[in-house]
Amino acid sequence: MMNGAKPLLTIKDLTVHYSVYGGRLQVLDGVNFTMYPGEKVGLVGETGCGKTTTMKAILRVLPSPPASIPQGEIFFEGQNVMQMSEDVLMQMRGQGISMIFQDPTAALNPVFSIGEQFEAVIKYSAPPGMILTRQEIHQRALSSLQEVALADPDRLLRSYPIQLSGGMRQRVCIGMALATNPKLLIADEPGTSLDVTIQDQVLRLLRRLVEEHNTSVILITHTLGIVRETTNRVYVMYAGSMVETAPTEKLFAQPMHPYTQGLISTVPRLTGGGVASGIPGRIPDYRNPPSGCRFHPRCPHVMDICRKEKPPAFQINTEHAVACFLYNKDHSANDEKETRLL
């Protein structure tokens, strides 16, 4: 990972505010994120911690107003996303980054057939100067549907979303997202709205396709089990900033941030042993976020410094970084912008 390869996607100190009636919601508070080509990165956190806002910022689809970005930079393949022209941006959305949404029913337009929607995706995401004939577009749509293991793709292209089951719709969405061979796939809770057996099928399909296409993946979810089985590195997010990152196995074996520890311990286990007590309190009010570390009102190890200062990222080793003052003594804060993970 640290082999000197160029990062695929870097986010530096991204801050996003929403102006709403009654104040400014300080939703993202300095998000740092780095991923390299070929990585499968998981992004976990509770509802409302800013996962989806971060991903929307990458694609620059945040509605503005109410959203504003006071500071921060996003680089995709070395290009600054914040300064891209609309043309370049469309190209990035077409061939660079694809997204799978949580609810396939809402992601597909109910008044167009699957074929029309599929062909539009293929047509508009073709590189500039490349004009595809209708025949070619149709062929590509067919082969994409075959790839996601859907039977009878010919009939499927003529059917409407309402005629498909939830699992089939999500497969169609996956097919669409991968039809353009993107470099990065953002999957926002791809299985949450599905049943556990169907979710398992969809995730297995996703894992296989991603392997075949050699696509990098950001998997957003709050189901820790899915992260463990799909990704090789995890970012943990709390109240608008990344609090910990580590290779997946290490994070589950040895979580360091008190929030990560709490999160992992509250997952009910198949082996039994009762349900842990959970993390006290709830996600802060973004109009008035707590000073210093935003986790301090819920933290069992809170110290004086936590209330005053926002903790920097402490590098435990080359792959593991934690934003928590508990690790202040043994590890120095990493100031080198280039190799920073958090």
């Binding site: 556990v196 398992d200 099928q201 089985e229 009910p268 198949l270 082996t271």
Partner: protein
């Protein structure tokens, strides 16, 4: 052996969703939401009812609470038949069975504050002068401060709303509470708090729970016994520890193998042989024979023709599958 608090036998609920044909050939199209489910809940236990969406779990809950009348079959609560006569349930029975719904956002009236929400059941089932004290007490037992009385549902977080729903269910002092996916809309850390509250309340007030969920790992930690439901029928019932150590029905194994888990020890518990395939068929066209045969990896010829019946496969472990010896008389044997 403890007494059964609720006995459900051969429960069926068919919904008519339309008609085919005309005049004499006119036939109703029915959704067989519940199609002959039988199970029982013992006094003081938590029975976990697990199944995919569309398997009829919630319909069972709504019939038990009295929202629907069953098409056939009956439910016994202690010594009372619940659907006798005109189906109107006497008030003392209404009070005994309460429910907590899945989505706390839509099960609380947005125009009423918490005091009004909790007042209604109290006024009907326990009319008394000291209503305000009762409400404060209700909030206290679920761990909410009294000032919550004057809040409206929109001012509460999802977890708090669900806790108010629990307080409302407890207001009539029920003995059986139906929990219809009480935590599936909540985050894991909030889920943990809610579940622990439910377990404490169960101990304190000697409640029996019918816990409906699709989350098997949660089931492992809260229920005494587990019943698996598929297309309106129960396919396996067992005690929790035994169930997870030794799942018998192929569908159960498929469910277990699909769960995403967080530790290696859990990984070893998952059955490896059964990989999830196919989707749950429409309850309008239930496959003949065993309804699971379309997805079953061990399907045999007999499965496509004969629907198996519940059979004892071990102590307190029944399964409805042709892979296990069927009772000699294929009749009405309930678990």
């Amino acid at each position: 052996m403890t007494e059964d608090i609720l006995t459900v036998s051969h429960l069926k609920k068919h919904f008519v969703i339309g008609y085919t044909g005309q005049f004499k050939e006119r036939k109703p199209i029915t959704v067989k939401a519940v199609d002959g489910a039988s199970f029982s809940i013992q006094e003081g236990e938590t029975l976990g009812l697990v199944g995919e969406s569309g398997s009829g779990k919630s319909t069972v809950a709504y019939i038990t609470i009295g929202m629907y009348l069953p098409t056939s079959g009956n439910i016994r609560f202690r010594e009372h038949e619940l659907f006798q006569g005109n189906g109107k349930r006497p008030r003392h029975l209404q009070k005994e069975i309460q429910i907590v719904y899945q989505d706390p956002g839509s099960s609380l009236n947005p125009r009423q504050n918490i005091k009004q929400i909790l007042e209604m059941p109290l006024r009907i089932h326990k009319p008394a002068k000291n209503q305000l004290e009762q409400i404060v007490y209700l909030l206290e037992i679920v761990g909410l401060p009294p000032e919550f009385m004057y809040k409206y549902p929109r001012m509460l977080s999802g977890g708090e709303k669900q806790i108010v729903s629990i307080a409302r269910a407890l207001s009539t002092e029920p003995s059986l509470v139906i929990l219809d996916e009480p935590t599936s809309a909540l985050d894991v850390s909030v889920q943990a708090k809610t579940i622990n509250l439910l377990l404490e309340l169960q101990k304190e007030f000697k409640l029996s729970y019918l816990f409906i969920t699709h989350d098997l790992s949660l089931m492992r930690n809260v229920s005494t016994r587990v019943a698996i439901m598929y297309l309106g029928k129960i396919c396996e019932v067992a005690e929790t520890a035994d169930f997870f150590r030794n799942p018998l029905h192929p569908y159960t194994q498929m469910l277990l193998s699909s769960i995403p888990v967080v530790t290696k020890e859990e990984e070893e518990l998952k059955p490896k042989k059964v990989v999830s395939t196919g989707e749950i068929p429409s309850p309008v066209n239930v496959p003949p024979g065993c309804s699971f045969h379309t997805r079953c990896p061990f399907v045999m010829d007999i499965c496509k023709q004969v629907d198996p019946v519940m059979a004892e496969a071990g102590p307190n472990h029944s399964v409805r599958c042709h892979l296990f010896p069927q009772p000699a008389l294929a009749g009405s044997k309930s678990p």
